[in-house]
Each structure stands twice: as C-alpha cells, then as structure tokens.
C-alpha cells in the first residue's frame, strides 16, 4: 500500500504554517496572536514527524516531543503575560499596548 509521499506532508505543513502566519499578522487580540503561533508550531511538528517516518529515524519523534513540551511552556507563560497585562491595562488588544514604543 503506497500512501502520499513526504512532499505531500511538507506541502500540508507549509500551508498550515502560512495560515498561522496570516493569523499572527492580522489578529489584534493578543490571545488570537497566540492561536496563530500555536498553528505555526503545529505545522513544524508535522514536518518533524514526516521526516522521522520517511527516514526511519527516531530523532524526529524526540524533537517533536520536545517542541510539544516547549509549546505548552510557551502557552503557559504567554497567557500569564496576557492576564498580567489585562490586569493593568484592562485590554488585550495588541494595538493599545504601546508602552515599549520608542
């Protein structure tokens, strides 16, 4: 049984990556931007697992485990920052968070 090749998975991951990038560029809500980052990291995981499968190398799966753990860390810290910002500024709209603008 021959399924889709490596390139089909890479194209799918590239498409999801581009969609996530679009979300980051256009969302104004900080949580919406985090959702876009999630999509992009997810696309990278598809790439890693696909390479691991088609090269019969477990290193890709180990990397995927690491990126999944780091994504969870990133979401936890990112949302803590969002909540802290919301307490002070009463908004999570990225356009209004200009405290560091030079």
């Amino acid at each position: 049984m021959t399924g889709p090749g490596l390139q089909a998975y890479l194209i799918l991951a590239a498409l999801v990556f581009a969609i996530g990038l679009f979300g980051i560029l256009t969302r104004r809500n900080a949580i919406g931007i985090l959702l876009g980052i999630e999509l992009m990291l997810n696309a990278v995981n598809i790439n890693l697992v696909a390479f691991a499968r088609f090269h019969a190398d477990l290193a890709g799966l180990v990397f995927t485990l690491f990126t999944i753990a780091i994504t969870v860390i990133e979401v936890g810290v990112g949302l803590a920052i969002v909540i802290a910002v919301f307490r002070v500024r009463k908004t999570v709209d990225a356009d209004h968070l200009t405290l560091l603008r030079g």
């Binding site: 581009a18 919406g32 959702l35 997810n42 088609f54």
Partner: protein
Amino acid sequence: MTGATLAFVVVAAALVTASLGVVLTRNLFHAVLYLAGALVATAVVFLLLESPFLFAVQLLLYAGGVVTILVFAIMLTERLVGERITQTSRFLLNGAVVAAAVFVGLAGFIARARQPAPAVTPAEDQVAGLARALVGPFAASFELLAVLLVAALLGAIYLARTED
C-alpha cells in the same frame, strides 16, 4: 486512489479548514474551538505517519491541556457573554499577501527538492525506541527540558499572581 491517500486528503482538508477557522472567525471562543479541531486533525496526521505514541501525546497535551488553558484565559480577560468576545482584524490584505508569499516560497522549495528515498517501515517498537533515545543520546536535553518546565511554571505563577 488508495485508501491511505484518501485518508490523507480527508484529514488534510479537515486540518486546513480548521486552521482557516482559527484565523478567520470573529468570535475568539469559536477560534479556540477551531484550534482544538486543528490539533485533533494534526494528531490524526501523526497516526497516518505511523506514530501512535505522538498521536496520544498530541491529544493529551494539546487538545486536553492547551485548549483548557486558552479557554481559562479567555474567561479571565473577556466576557464570555456579550459582544466583547468578538474581535476585529486589520491589514487583512497585507497579511494575506505575506502569508501567500511565504507559502509559495516554501512550496516551491519543497517541489524542487530531491525526491526522498521510498519510505521504509520502522523496524522496532516505536515507544521502546523513543524511551531508549530519551535516556540515551537525548538524556541531557531531556533533563534540561524538565528544568525549563519548572522555571516556566514558576514564571507563569509569578506573572499571573494577584498583587497583595
């Protein structure tokens, strides 16, 4: 069209649809639900790639953990009822152009790349291999990841604590 190809097409369509829902829907809560769908579809992609262990990890950590945290964050920063949950986007055209350019660049690179060798079926038990890799060549990275997790947890608690 073989069964495997058909399954891939169906899962890929579901993944892309859910991803578009994440970035296009106006209701932030619906966006998180679409993200859960996209994460589950990704888990099924892992299953198609013969990685049942990562399928389980993806479901438990992402679809279980991350989505729950996101829902909590939305409940803390927005009103779940009412109009505040809607959000607007800006620079839609610019964002679409940049994202399309990135996709075309990546796809062109992938299409021009050398065709990989035909797929080999993994010989040994995947979970046993992963376990050996994590305590063998990747042991140092694994321990560092544990330190990073603790540090991030402490940082998140410190950032989100109440001032009193």
